[in-house]
């Protein structure tokens, strides 16, 4: 086992013994993921977005199990080597990191390691031993985007090895099939997904979700985070029943409104569905929403760069998989009007035509 991984494994066992082990298991992208906390400081906050995927005990995990230990700077590693490593790393991180936060001296082969200043955390994953570590330097609050989309770098790096791919898009559908709505921030993904919340379609995602091939080689879409994020109060006002569910009513001026849908809309969530089409939302003037075919290049431009952007381990393989998705599925432009009630019927109508 790689030295840094072994050091963190020892540190995790020590902290879990000292503060008490809390473990939560999730089915993420069809894979078994265990989050192990030392004490209860982070166990609620870091799992709010994942709670809809908690193992119920009825699902038998398939394949490998990813075990992620969550630690923080209030816990002191017994091993002096690790103490001496973490101190200069956090004080002088620009000397250690590449342009995307990769820790240059650790990164490569089966081990991937990233440091993120600001929220100030270190993520290490070893895809050979299926171990991950998330270490937050201090006890300052996690920003809303870390609570809304937790452990992104770790989950992406490991799931990709299991051929389960992060994609940046909203997703709605039914057990018979659904759509992925691709696009960068502000393209209408969240609004479109939330507009389907009280329709016959179920909600899988408004930003990050997962795609992977099923046993039949067809693409499945997996829900990842049950988080809905909206830019401001005017967006929130478009949706009845959400205002009382806002997790961060006291927020910074640039923070997005964050809602955990699992807490009041659990029955409206869907963990996975067969993926039938890629939609590219485009905000239009006028009331009307309509769907029309679009080119695969347009779909790739909408899905590819934004899917790779916030994932420090992303690269060639990610774009390959996104390319396969776009190549193998029909692609459409979702022209969005201001009358949000037209969005769900338009998607339902499309699915009626393309679902087998």
């Amino acid at each position: 086992m790689k030295p840094i991984v072994e050091l963190f494994r020892e540190f995790a066992e020590q902290a879990q013994a000292e503060y008490g082990l809390q473990e939560k298991r999730f089915s993420i992208g069809g894979c078994d993921v265990r989050l192990r906390f030392a004490g209860d400081r982070w166990s609620t906050l870091l799992t709010k977005a994942l709670n809809h995927l908690l193992h119920t005990g009825t699902v038998k995990p398939q394949g490998r199990t990813f075990t992620v230990s969550i630690l923080d700077g209030s816990m002191t590693p017994a091993n002096p080597l690790l103490r001496f490593y973490l101190k200069p790393l956090t004080d002088f991180w620009p000397q250690y990191t590449g342009p995307r936060g990769e820790l240059l001296h650790l990164h490569g082969g089966p081990v991937q390691a990233f440091y993120k200043p600001g929220p100030d955390h270190l993520s290490i994953v070893d895809v050979e031993s299926d171990l991950g570590f998330f270490w937050k330097r201090d006890l300052t609050p996690l920003p809303y985007y870390e609570v809304g989309s937790p452990l992104r770098a770790l989950l992406h790096a490991w799931l990709r090895q299991q051929d389960v791919q992060f994609v940046h898009g909203g997703a709605v559908g039914t057990a018979a099939g659904g759509v992925l709505m691709a696009g960068k921030g502000g393209s209408g993904k969240s609004t479109s997904a939330l507009a389907c919340l009280n329709s016959g379609l179920q909600y899988a995602s408004d930003d990050y979700c997962l795609v992977g091939r099923g046993d039949d080689r067809q693409w499945n879409l997996y829900s990842l985070y049950n988080t809905a994020k909206l830019v401001g109060d005017s967006d929130l006002a478009k949706f009845t029943g959400l205002a009382s569910e806002v997790w961060n009513p006291e927020r910074g001026p640039d923070d997005k409104i964050t809602i955990f849908l699992n807490e009041s809309f659990q029955e409206r969530l869907i963990p996975q569905f067969p993926l039938r089409a890629v939609l590219v939302p485009v905000i239009r003037g006028g009331d009307k929403t309509w769907i029309e075919p679009c080119g695969r290049g347009e779909a790739l431009m909408a899905l590819g760069p934004s899917s790779l952007a916030q994932l420090p381990a992303s690269g060639r393989k990610d774009l390959d998989i996104v390319g396969h998705v776009v190549r193998e599925l029909p692609c459409f432009r979702l022209n969005l009007g201001t009358d949000l009630s037209q969005i769900a019927p338009a998607i339902t109508n499309l699915l009626g035509q393309i679902n087998p």
């Binding site: 300052t140 920003p143 997005k256 916030q310 060639r316 774009l319």
Partner: protein, 151 residues
């Protein structure tokens, strides 16, 4: 671009640059700068050929088999395109050429209308691709995050 530059062999700047091509459209992403690009038509063809290493002259000769334009006209149109590619760090010169077979285009079709290749650059995701301490750290200084950093 002078004669010697025309004979310089270039390649796509892998692994920093990744790309995917569908029909006549190509999307390229520079992972180290966070800039992504859209190319179509002759630009997409030229970029794909550069993955196998080529000089401007070699590219022009191959493109002339597909597009209704002469080698010299295509070569002239490629020169400013190459400048754009180099400016965006999407291609780099090849020190020692790798032996390869003749260049050829995968796409079918001949005598297509030739339009000078162009490169569109999109920089709107740069702050998300890159670790940017200026944006990650707020006015209160390290280690306080800037509002919205990493969103």
């Amino acid at each position: 671009m002078n004669q010697s530059t025309e004979q310089v062999c270039f390649r796509v700047n892998t692994p920093s640059v990744i790309y995917e091509k569908f029909d006549d459209e190509l999307v390229a992403i520079h992972l180290d700068t966070g800039v992504y690009h859209s190319l179509s038509g002759s630009a997409a063809d030229a970029f794909e050929l550069l993955s196998r290493e080529a000089t401007i002259t070699e590219l022009a000769e191959v493109l002339a088999t597909r597009y209704a334009a002469g080698v010299e006209a295509i070569q002239a149109a490629l020169e400013p395109f190459f400048l754009q590619l180099k400016k965006e760090d999407l291609i780099c010169p090849v020190e020692a050429r790798t032996p390869r077979g003749p260049l050829e285009l995968k796409n079918t079709g001949t005598s297509l209308e030739f339009t000078a290749p162009t490169l569109e650059a999109y920089r709107d995701l740069q702050s998300l691709f890159l670790l940017d301490p200026v944006h990650e750290v707020g006015e209160a200084g390290w280690p306080n995050p800037a509002p919205g950093a990493g969103v």
